[in-house]
Amino acid sequence: MTGEATERSTGEHASPPIHLRPARDADVAAVVPLLLRLKRLNEEFDPLLKVREDAEAQAREVLRAQIADPRSVVLVAEGAGAEHDKVVGFVRANVRERPFYAPESEGVIVDIYLLPLYRRRGAGEYLLHEVSAALKAKGAAIVTAEFPAQNEIAVRFYAKRGFRPVTSIHARPL
């Protein structure tokens, strides 16, 4: 559903309508609104994912810290052609140690977001491929993804690309 082709494309060729590069400090202002869109989408799936009032300030902090952190990967997606300098998506991931399991290093995709018009011609696939490569370069031997359990679009997206559920996080209010 979300990955549907649209007629408002920027070109005829079949390559993804985006290109990727590592995020810089200067990208934070452009990435924050996208990160908030993703969090607000997550809020649709579960009331325990209610977006905080100060989420915008938090997003700025977290992004700055992760861009500086060698154990994190933040990539930005930019458009093609006339939209070459427009930030249209991003992915945020961390390398985590697994003290009890092998392999011991895991790359966790925390956020992945593309504006709806750019979700086509393999853009999501491309984003996933690039972030996986970056995590591998930082020593991760497996890649995992976190998203709301009710997000069936995400379930399908990852399942199609060889992901399977390994651990579950269940919650209740206290």
């Binding site: 979300t2 408002r8 869109r37 607000r40 989408l41 649709e44 799936f45 504006l115 709806p116 018009l117």
Partner: protein, 480 residues
């Protein structure tokens, strides 16, 4: 159906706006009074006649012996025949001409979620229209269930009795989901009049409005104000007719619907039909309110919640020269026709019968059902809806197409059998017809079947089987 309030008289000259405002207010009050009087009368008459429809035998009954043919034992052979060949139900029973009018009562007229019981008078009225205009036997079936799934399985369960399903007064967006899923599951046409009937009438009117103002669909820039059932279906039909998606914009209470509007992700989950249009339309990514959307537009089609003044003269003035304005909210259009005209509109249409150019789904649904039933269609794909719209537009030519006549009126009855025949032809062409006939045969059949109910009603009246319409107040229950 018809409201007979007079059109507000056009303001003479400046100070035009003030004069027109007070005239508008007075006309508005008159209309409210009139609507209230009509309502009171409708309640009285509903009590007097105790409902609007009844079932009537269509076979002779010479004596009770005939029931050995119409009922047991003879009828068993008819059942066996259908059991052996299910499609024979369309030959041997009234299924070929019977539709169910189903609703959950979740969005009845402008009244909102009043539930299935209170929806019944509206469904009875619709059944009357089906019969009177289309010669179709329609059964009102309000359904008291809570979930779309339960609604779906109920309709699926009753489908064997019917040749078609008419969904009525179901809230958006669940109406889209229900229509899509039912159409997939059932082997008979499923129609949601609030989407398809209104959209087909709108498109028919627009085809002629474009022609009469010398425009091409391909080049028109169109704004759809309101993103409910009707306008989303209209958008889909316009795109199917070759309207440039980049030059089409939808506007809802949050402003222009755009692929980057911040509720688009939510729409992808809650309302995929609107989401798809958000991605397809509004090329160039205009953002903002209605004023931004209409700037330079050729056409505005307003089908929103009826709040007068939603569309203002300055909006019309900001459009391209000689624009087309459809203000379809009922009972109060988004802008009164005289105001739209004074602001430069070349063609104005409303949903009301007391103004010229009434966009009325009664122009469409009786003929569509006549057509799909006569072809015993399995479904109503969009090409059938478009065939109906095109033929309806052509039908207006009989009396000459112009700014004051872009659609036939309900009185131009000769148009409707032609629409029915065009629908039946389209069903054959689309490969969904169980029965193929020539155009002339479909036309002849539609003429006969659509003319019969008026004769029937007259005959029942002449023979005093229906009581004459009482003059003056009727307080007491009919004793008959």
């Amino acid at each position: 159906m018809a409201e007979s309030a007079p059109a507000p008289s056009p303001p003479a000259r400046d100070p035009r706006r003030r004069a027109s405002r007070s005239a508008e207010a007075a006309a508005g009050r008159r209309r409210e009074d009139q609507t209230e009087q009509l309502g009171q009368r409708a309640v009285e008459l509903s009590r007097y006649y105790a409902g609007k429809i009844e079932t009537v035998p269509k076979v002779p009954v010479r004596s009770l012996h005939d029931f050995s043919l119409w009922y047991t034992p003879g009828v068993a052979a008819v059942s066996k025949a259908i059991h052996a060949e299910p499609d024979l139900a369309f030959e041997l029973t009234g299924r070929w001409n019977t539709v169910a009018i189903v609703t959950d009562g979740s969005r009845v007229l402008g009244l909102g979620d009043i539930g299935p019981r209170a929806a019944l008078p509206v469904m009875e009225g619709k059944a009357l229209l089906f019969k009177f205009l289309g010669g179709v036997d329609a059964v009102p079936i309000p359904i008291g269930v809570a979930s779309p799934d339960a609604f779906l399985s109920t309709v699926e369960a009753i489908a064997p009795a019917f040749g078609g399903i008419n969904l009525e007064d179901i809230a958006s967006p669940k109406c889209f989901d229900i229509l899509e899923r039912l159409a997939k599951r059932l082997e008979i046409p499923v129609w949601h009049d609030d989407q398809l009937g209104t959209a087909a009438a709108t498109v028919a009117g627009l085809l002629n409005a474009l022609r009469t103002t010398g425009r091409e669909m391909r080049e028109a820039r169109t704004v759809l104000l309101g993103a409910g059932a009707a306008n989303l279906a209209t958008a889909r039909l316009l795109l199917a007719l070759g309207h440039d998606p980049h030059r089409l914009s939808l506007v809802d209470h949050r402003g222009i619907l755009d692929a980057e509007r911040d509720d688009v992700d939510e729409l992808s989950i809650r309302h995929p039909w609107k989401y798809r249009l958000a991605l397809q339309t509004n090329g160039g990514g205009r953002t903002g309110d209605l004023a931004r959307a209409v700037d330079g537009a050729d056409v505005v089609i307003a089908a929103s919640t009826p709040v007068p003044g939603t569309l203002r003269p300055e909006h019309v003035r900001a459009m391209a020269p000689r624009p087309i304005v459809f203000a379809l909210a009922n009972p109060v259009p988004e802008i009164w026709p005289d105001l739209a005209k004074a602001a430069g509109a070349a063609v104005v249409a409303t949903g009301r019968s007391d103004f010229e150019n009434q966009v009325n789904n009664s122009l469409v649904f009786p003929a569509v059902f006549r057509g799909v039933l006569d072809a015993r269609a399995r479904s109503v794909p969009d090409e059938i809806v478009l065939a109906a719209a095109r033929e309806l537009a052509r039908g207006a030519e009989l009396k000459g197409v112009g700014p004051h006549h872009i659609l036939p009126t309900m009185e131009e009855a000769e148009v409707f059998p032609s629409v029915a025949a065009a629908v039946a032809d389209a069903a054959v062409a689309a490969g969904v017809a169980r029965r193929r006939r020539s155009h002339d045969e479909f036309l002849e059949r539609a003429r006969t079947l659509m003319a019969r109910p008026a004769r029937l009603v007259r005959a029942l009246g002449r023979s005093h089987l229906t009581a004459p319409m009482p003059r003056g107040p009727v307080g007491r229950r009919r004793s008959a």
